[in-house]
Structure formats: structure tokens, C-alpha cells
């Protein structure tokens, strides 16, 4: 059955060139478009980023963590001219990168698992499924198609929680057609339908009827009346009828048919596919005006902190793209590459605009929609913890029986909880007082910066052949992924030389380590 669908999709896409060109061609085209926009709007872009700045950003955006000390040392010493692109290729093949992209997609597809504790336990199974697909290099359209059409074994009860499947997409939305319609539109098409559930959308063009037209595709589920409303994860006796093609709008007498968001009606004569399969086919079709754009917009946001459309999943007439031609170009590249995420990543990272510095040299760089400068942006909680762990040399025990089991008491889990932020955009990231207190005084950082308990510190402190200057270098490279400036060498170097406030060289090292870990330079991406 799946085979047939795959062929159908490829045939439909057949009238486009099937391959995309080398990434640098598309990258150059994108840079030309930005330059033209800057010229038009009298924007002066920032200077190109230096190596240290660039590699830290690249590692965070691709691998979800800062580079290890040895990695950054090697990169800074490497004199080859193509090293930046080679690192992109290397990172794209790494497990860290798979994990980072998995987390990113999971946050986009099942955000409810973060905000609602009863769904947290679904994360491992969903991530395991995504992980498999991403590491096998499955095209993005296939991944989305498989999510929408998943077989759904929700009646497995508690066993669901450790099943490797995309079922969580449905479970966190409690199998409700209205939630699934909103979720599908938002996650895969970048359209925020939500308001239209109860009335015509107040300021966008979607009508209530259109909302329920989409919901109708998901209206075949029936849940048993015994289901525990307090515990929606445990669904017993769920059944699905695959011949349901319409839905009644609650609170009214109206019954509306299943119709795609663009107004296109499904071909019901082709009785071989279920409503969900039909919907999936339409969502990932190359003619779908939203699918590819949403996907590349999200990828763009991963590297820039905001999409070309911002908020990232709010494509609407009231919210135009800052650079529509760039978006179109990337969307076309994506489709031509058969929805190959790696290809788009290579394009984006090869652009000059991605490689701009975050140092502001002109007022016109302040407006983020110009993309004239790399922005200060927040890290995801996962990026922050994994970077901290890398910097301090903390290695997490690996459970081989199920690497995705969430241990709520582990330092990682506690960190993630504390640093999970409610602000939508990384550009608006706020450090809370509680976070500041945890970083300054909390156990994890305290242990990591204590000479007795920290592996990294002890290694640096006791390394026989390292001069004070080299020790300072190592600290800066470990935490900030760069060497200290001249002024910093003086200031911090003098501090180390004097033994610091406790007149003890090891304590002084610990002090400097603490300072670097508590800085905004470490906490943020830039």
C-alpha cells in the first residue's frame, strides 16, 4: 500500500527538475537577493564572522552543542580554505546532529509534551521514531506523510509509552479532530487556524467552515466512554472508521465535508485511500503552496533565530515574509532535492548572510528582519545543558536498554525543566531570576567549578606542562570556544597569577571557570 502512494507522489512531482544544483549556487543566489534588499533599504550589513565566532554558532545550530576543546583548537589551527564547508558535512553525519534535529522537530510536532506533564512520557517513543527516520536519511515529505497516516495503536494502553512510533502526534491532541486540524495546519503548513474553530478568523481569511472542512479528515475516531478524562494518554477501545467524510460543527446544525484548506476537494472515487491518507498526500504534494515553505522557514529559523516569516509558523496575509524571493528559492530547492533537509542546511550554511558577525557596526543592523547581522539569541534548554556538559566535562550515563528513557531526576532533566522558556522566539529569550540563582549557586555548576569535584578543572590545574597563559586559553576555549583577547589576558591572567581572592591558584582557576560559565556569552548563541 505504501509503495503505491510513494509512486503516486513522485509521479505528481515529475514535471519539475528532479535534482537540485550544488549548494553554493543556491547560496550565492540567496546572497545576491539579500544584497539587493540591503541596497534598496540602505542597510549596511555587519562584517563576516571570524572563525571562533562562526564555529561556535555552527556547532550549536547543527549539533546542538558547543565544540569540544580539542575540536575548536583543531579548527582554529586549520589553515585550509574550505574548512567551514567540510565541517558542515562532517557535522551533518554526526549523531549529535541527528539528535539536535530530532529534538527540534519533536518540539515543533508535539509541543504539548513540553507544556503538559501528562504527555511527557510520550517523548521518548516519538523521538526514537524520528531519530530512526532522520538517521536513515528519509526525505522530509515521507516523514510527515507517515506521521499523518500512522496506524495508531493507541489502545495498547501503557505499552504505548515505550513504543517507537509517531502516534504521540495524535495522542497529545487527544484524537480530537479540531486539535488535529489545528496541529496539522500549524506544524506542517505554517497556518494558524486555531481562532477559526469557533468563528470566522478575526483577522485572517480562514472561515469557521474551512476549519471544520480540515477537521473532517480526522473525524473517524471514536473513543470509549470509559476513557479517563484525566489521563488522556491511556486510551482504551479506540476505533477508527475510515469511511467518514464529513463532520458536524459543534454548537450548530451544520455538517461540512472534508475539503483541503486550499478549497480543493478530495477525489473520493479513488476509494483505495482513507481520508487521512488523502490528507497526507495533499499536505506533502509539491503543488501545496505551504508545505515546502513552512519546512524551509523552520530550518532558516534554526540558523537565524527567526524565520523569513516570523513567527515561524504563522504564514498569513497580515504577516508577510521579509524576503519572499529567498523563501521561494529555498522552497524550490527543497522540492527539487526531494525534500532533503541536509541539502537545505548546506545551502544555508554556505551563504554569506549566515556567516555575518553578531557585532553591530551600524544602526540598520538592529532590525532583525534585515538579517544584516547575526543576532543574540537564546539556546534551547537542550542546547544549553549539552553545551554546559561539554564545557565542564560532565558525561551522562547511557542506558543501553532504552536510550530514550527520560529520567526526571537526572541533572539534564532538572536543567531542562528550569530552562524551559515560555517565550516564543529565541530573539526574546529571557533569563529568569530562578535561572540566574541556579547558575550562580546551584549544585551542578558548583560541583563543576569546584577543584575537588570537577574533572575538567582538575585536569587543567594539574597538567604539568601548562603555563598559566595556556591554562587561561584552555578555560576560554572550553567554555567560550575562543581565546582570550589581549585585555582579557591581562585582567584574567593577573587574577590567576595572584592566586585570586583565596590566594590559591586552583581556586583562582575555579573562579575564572565560574565567571565564564555564568556569562551571557556562554548562555546565548551569537
Amino acid at each position: 500500500m505504501r509503495y503505491v502512494l510513494l509512486t503516486v507522489i513522485i509521479v505528481v512531482a515529475g514535471d519539475r527538475p528532479a535534482t537540485a544544483g550544488p549548494p553554493r549556487d543556491a547560496a550565492a543566489a540567496i546572497d545576491r537577493l539579500f544584497q539587493a534588499a540591503w541596497d534598496r533599504e540602505e542597510v549596511t550589513p555587519a562584517v563576516p564572522a571570524q572563525d571562533a565566532e562562526y564555529f561556535r554558532r555552527l556547532y550549536l545550530d547543527l549539533a546542538g552543542r558547543i565544540p569540544a576543546v580539542s575540536e575548536i583548537r583543531d579548527l582554529l589551527a586549520d589553515e585550509s580554505t574550505d574548512k567551514r564547508l567540510r565541517v558542515v558535512d562532517k557535522l551533518l553525519d554526526s549523531p549529535a546532529s541527528v539528535r539536535h534535529f530530532t529534538t527540534s522537530l519533536r518540539n515543533a510536532f508535539i509541543p504539548q509534551a513540553n507544556s503538559q506533564p501528562q504527555f511527557r512520557a510520550l517523548i521518548p517513543g516519538f523521538e526514537a521514531w524520528l531519530w530512526q527516520r532522520i538517521s536513515e536519511g528519509q526525505p522530509y515529505n515521507q516523514i510527515v506523510h507517515d506521521i499523518i497516516t500512522t496506524e495508531l495503536n493507541v489502545s495498547a494502553g501503557p505499552a504505548l509509552l515505550s513504543t517507537t512510533s509517531p502516534d504521540a502526534f495524535f495522542v497529545v491532541r487527544e484524537l480530537k479532530p479540531e486539535n488535529l486540524a489545528s496541529g496539522t495546519a500549524r506544524a506542517f503548513l505554517g497556518v494558524r487556524l486555531d481562532c477559526a474553530q469557533c468563528h470566522d478568523h478575526p483577522f485572517d481569511r480562514w472561515s469557521q467552515r474551512q476549519f471544520w472542512n480540515m477537521a473532517a479528515f480526522y473525524s473517524g475516531f471514536t473513543r470509549s466512554a470509559d476513557d479517563d478524562a484525566d489521563n488522556p494518554v491511556m486510551m482504551q477501545n479506540m476505533t477508527e472508521k475510515t469511511d467518514v467524510r464529513s463532520i458536524g460543527i459543534p454548537g450548530t446544525e451544520d455538517v461540512v465535508p472534508a475539503v483541503y484548506l486550499t478549497g480543493l476537494e478530495p477525489d473520493w472515487e479513488d476509494g483505495s485511500t482513507t481520508p487521512r491518507q488523502k490528507l497526507a498526500n495533499w499536505v506533502v504534494d509539491s503543488e501545496n503552496p505551504y508545505f515546502a515553505k513552512m519546512a524551509v522557514n523552520r530550518l532558516w529559523a534554526q540558523f537565524f533565530g527567526r524565520g523569513i516569516v516570523d513567527p515561524v509558523d504563522d504564514f498569513s496575509e497580515n504577516n508577510p515574509a521579509s524576503h519572499p524571493e529567498v523563501l521561494d528559492l529555498l522552497a524550490e530547492e527543497f522540492i527539487n532535492s526531494d525534500y532533503d533537509v541536509k541539502h537545505i542546511v548546506k545551502v544555508i550554511t554556505a551563504t554569506d548572510v549566515y556567516q555575518l558577525s553578531s557585532i553591530q557596526t551600524h544602526a540598520s543592523q538592529e532590525e532583525s528582519s534585515h538579517f544584516a547581522r547575526a543576532t543574540l539569541r537564546g539556546l534551547t534548554p537542550e542546547q544549553f545543558f549539552d553545551s554546559t556538559a561539554e564545557a565542564v566535562g560532565y558525561y551522562q550515563p547511557y542506558r543501553s536498554d532504552n536510550p530514550f528513557v527520560v529520567d526526571m531526576n537526572s541533572p539534564r532533566a532538572q536543567f531542562l525543566d528550569l530552562f524551559r522558556n515560555n517565550v516564543e522566539s529565541p530573539l526574546e529569550r529571557e533569563t529568569t531570576i530562578l535561572q540566574a540563582l541556579a547558575m550562580m549557586n546551584g549544585n551542578f555548576i558548583d560541583n563543576a567549578t569546584s577543584v575537588d569535584d570537577s574533572q575538567t578543572l582538575r585536569a587543567i590545574a594539574e597538567f604539568p606542562a601548562m603555563s598559566d597563559e595556556q591554562k587561561l586559553d584552555t578555560l576560554f576555549l572550553s567554555v567560550l570556544s575562543r581565546r582570550p583577547s589581549k585585555a582579557e589576558r591581562r585582567r584574567f591572567g593577573d587574577y590567576l597569577l595572584s592566586g585570586g581572592a583565596s590566594e590559591n591558584p586552583k581556586s583562582a582557576l575555579a573562579d575564572v571557570f565560574w565567571v565564564l560559565l555564568n556569562s551571557s556569552e556562554f548562555l546565548l548563541n551569537h
Binding site: G378, L434, M440, V515, S520, L523
Partner: protein, 446 residues
């Protein structure tokens, strides 16, 4: 128990200097100077937020005798002629200190939009990021001498609309300190609700001199890095560290420790997160915090979930929630009054909307923004009255409809603030505290 908890004259914190915090916080000489601060002239506010949309018929606007009233009976209160629901007997006794608004009316029946609307006074639209009421009011009311953040949020349930709880364009300095309750103690029957703020104490391994030195180095690093890179995230980081350091060194954090409170008083508030949260709110107000928001969204008083969203089993659920609300609310009002704090503290009770007068097939009530209730008490309010009324079947406002904008304007006036005062938004446009065209309702004000 002293009437006012200690405050420290901790001095001003300006710019990026964290060293400022260290200098006045730790050096013994300056510490000895802790002068008695002049008494604050600003008023304070406590917001009791009922997330999910509490049923007005089962709380402040019963409809006994009509089929829409369901089984809920009405009881007399300390104000002759005014009756409220039998679910709130203790509150009925303090009715003479309350002003119940029965004519709230909006068009917003969606949790997310309505929560945002009620919290900011504006509908979510376009690029303007409106600040939550705690942020914009605490900005005006704040007490410079207080070492705690001016705005504290207890057990918030933010899932419906995270933006409704943030400082918006006022920036991170106006973010609330979010405090979550924990249950401490081993055996279930001896468990206590506690509100400790973790990590307030410097590690024992770090000396005072070391801590000072660290902050000095950190200051310089922050300064060099951020002066070349303007942006919210950097400013927020420094701001939070400044506030955190100030809290660390202050005796004011004692406010979070409820152990010193009389056992009987703690019982009266109710030994659950909401009840103890209301007690905490009183203590924070005494310490100089300007705005405390306490959330009630489940029958054990905890913050998770939207318990008031009673689409099914409305009567049982609301009864259970009121079992938590009633003692806490009534005790808070009485406690504030006894301590002479009620005249300077405005207490606001509300949710995002009310519930349908017509009972549904699951003995529940659904969302109903057309006619519902909110309650004001304390500072600036003419107490012991009801404002506005609804029809016998509860479906229409019959007198004096109240808009969200006018409610906000009334709240401002009660706090001695000009509701037309503006702040500059993130798009440069000045935004008044209460929306253009709003006016305080004189009948509600003393």
C-alpha cells in the same frame, strides 16, 4: 510576629555593574547602615486568578429557582439583600468588604485569547506585545527599597497563553519572580506546603571574597561582550543577575518562609498550595512587593490544569474548588484588614470568562463570556455592594455592563494610578495602562 517584615536599604543598581550589587551587599560597613526605609506611599495589588473560567452561577451570581441555576442554592451574606452561592459561606461573611461585578461581558470564549485579554486589557493582535497586568502595575507601584522583585507570581498556569503572563514590551526587568509550591515532609499527613526559592545561598565552598571577585570579573566580561551586541537576551541576563544578587543578600527572602506564621492562621487559609499562596501574598505585600498573582486551578489548590473549566460535572468540581477558594479568600481579606493592609491593597478575583447558564448533557457548563462575574476588594473600592446584574436565567446582562477595559481603568484608579498614563510599546507607539476610551466606574470607587 512583627507587622512589617524587615527591609534593607540596599541602594540603587544601575547599568551593567554587578559590582554595585556586591559593594553595597556585602561590605560590612554599608551593611551596618541599613536605614529604616520611609514608609511606602504606593498601594499594592493581589490578583487571585481562577484559570479555566469559573462558573458565576456557582460562585457569585446564583440563580436558585431557575432551571439554569441547577442544584446550587443561594445564601445570605453580611450585606442585607445580597446573596451568593452556598459554595462560599466564609466569603459570604466578608461580603461587606467586597464589590461583586456581575455584569462582566466580552466576546472572547477562547481560553487563550480570553486569558490574554483579562491579563493585559488588550486583545492579542499584530506585533504589539502587551505586558501582563502584574508587570505594568508593579512598574508604577514599585518600592525601590524592596529587595524582592516588585512582581511575584505564585503557581501560574501558563499553558493557555504564555504571552499573557509575560512583561511584553516592558522588558525583562518587569518579569515576575515565579514561585512554585512544593510539598515538604515525608509522610502524607505531615506534609507541608512550602515556597522556598532555591539556590538563594552561595555555595559553602565559596568565600565572600571569592564571590565578590567573581562578580567583578563577570561584570567586565558582560560589559565588553554586550556593548557591541545590543539585544534583549543580553540585557535580560544582566538584569536577572542583578535582581538575583540583590535577593540573595536580603533578609526579605524570609517572606517566603511560612514557618513563623501562627498555626491556626495557616489552617484558616487552608493547608493547600492556593491557601498558603494567599498567606504568602500577604507576607510579600508586607515586605514591599507590589503585585502578587496567585493561581487556583485545581481542587487540591495546585497550579496545574484548568480545573475551573467544568465542561462536565460542573457542580461537583466547582464545589471542590470552592472548598479551597472560600477559606483562603475570606481569610486573606480578614487578615489584610486586621493588619491594616486592606486600605492599601486591592484584591482582584477573576478568571478568563464565565460558564453557560444552560447546563449541558454532561452536567457541565461550557464557556460563556457574555455575562459573568469578577470581584474587587480593598484599596480604593466602595465595598459591600454588587455592581451590574444579570437576567433571571443568567443569559443577559440587564444593568451596567462592564467591559475589560473599564475594569482595568477601575483597577488603576483604585490603586491611585492614572489609567491613561502610557508606556512606549515595542513598535514605538504609546500604549495607555487601560485601553483608549476606557473609564473607571465611579460607583465602584470610594
Amino acid at each position: 510576629m512583627p507587622r512589617t517584615l524587615s527591609r534593607r536599604n540596599a541602594g540603587k543598581y544601575t547599568g551593567l555593574s554587578l559590582l554595585g550589587a556586591a559593594a553595597s551587599g556585602w561590605l560590612p560597613g554599608i551593611a551596618a547602615q541599613a536605614a529604616q526605609s520611609e514608609s511606602k506611599t504606593h498601594r499594592n495589588c493581589i490578583l487571585l486568578w481562577m484559570s479555566g473560567g469559573p462558573s458565576q452561577i456557582e460562585t457569585f451570581d446564583p440563580k436558585e429557582g431557575h432551571e439554569n441555576g441547577g442544584p446550587t442554592k443561594a445564601i445570605d451574606t453580611s450585606v442585607p439583600g445580597v446573596q451568593i452561592s452556598e459554595n462560599l459561606p466564609q466569603t459570604a461573611r466578608v461580603m461587606d468588604r467586597l464589590a461583586v461585578i456581575r455584569s462582566m461581558s466580552t466576546k472572547e470564549g477562547d481560553h487563550s485569547r480570553a486569558t490574554y485579554f483579562m491579563h493585559t486589557g488588550y486583545l492579542p493582535q499584530g506585533p504589539i506585545r502587551y505586558p501582563t497586568v502584574g508587570s505594568f502595575l508593579s512598574k508604577e507601584l514599585l518600592d525601590e527599597e524592596c529587595d524582592l522583585p516588585a512582581f511575584v507570581s505564585v503557581n501560574p498556569f501558563q499553558a493557555f497563553s504564555p504571552a499573557a503572563y509575560g512583561p511584553g514590551f516592558l522588558g525583562p526587568a518587569r518579569s515576575p519572580l515565579v514561585v512554585a509550591s512544593q510539598m515538604t515532609g515525608q509522610a502524607e499527613d505531615t506534609q507541608q506546603v512550602s515556597f522556598e526559592v532555591s539556590n538563594l545561598k552561595r555555595s559553602k565552598r565559596v568565600t565572600r571574597a571569592q564571590a565578590d571577585a567573581r562578580l567583578k570579573l563577570l561584570s567586565s566580561l558582560e560589559h565588553d561582550f554586550l556593548k557591541l551586541r545590543p539585544g534583549g537576551p543580553g540585557r535580560s541576563h544582566v538584569q536577572s543577575y542583578q535582581q538575583a544578587i540583590r535577593m540573595m543578600e536580603s533578609g526579605a527572602v524570609d517572606a517566603f518562609n511560612l514557618d513563623g506564621e501562627d498555626d491556626m492562621l495557616r489552617d484558616a487559609y487552608g493547608r493547600n498550595p492556593f491557601g498558603q499562596g494567599c498567606l504568602l501574598a500577604r507576607r510579600l505585600i508586607e515586605t514591599g512587593v507590589s503585585f502578587v498573582e496567585v493561581n487556583l486551578s485545581s481542587a487540591d489548590g495546585a497550579g496545574g490544569g484548568a480545573g475551573w473549566d467544568t465542561h462536565q460535572d460542573n457542580f461537583g468540581a466547582v464545589n471542590a474548588l470552592c472548598g479551597v477558594l472560600d477559606p483562603a479568600y475570606a481569610t486573606l481579606i480578614s487578615d489584610l484588614q486586621q493588619r491594616g493592609l486592606l486600605d492599601e491593597t486591592l484584591v482582584v478575583w477573576m478568571g478568563e470568562f464565565g460558564r453557560t447558564p444552560k447546563i449541558n448533557d454532561n452536567t457541565g457548563r461550557d464557556h460563556w463570556p457574555r455575562s459573568w462575574s469578577t470581584v474587587l476588594a480593598g484599596a480604593g473600592i466602595k465595598m459591600g455592594q454588587t455592581y451590574g446584574s444579570t437576567s433571571d436565567d443568567g443569559t443577559e446582562v440587564t444593568n451596567d455592563p462592564m467591559t475589560v477595559q473599564n475594569l482595568m481603568a477601575t483597577v488603576c484608579r483604585a490603586l491611585d494610578l492614572d489609567h491613561e498614563m502610557t508606556n512606549y510599546s515595542n513598535v514605538g507607539r504609546p500604549v495607555p495602562l487601560a485601553d483608549h476610551g476606557s473609564a473607571p466606574v465611579q460607583l465602584l470607587l470610594s
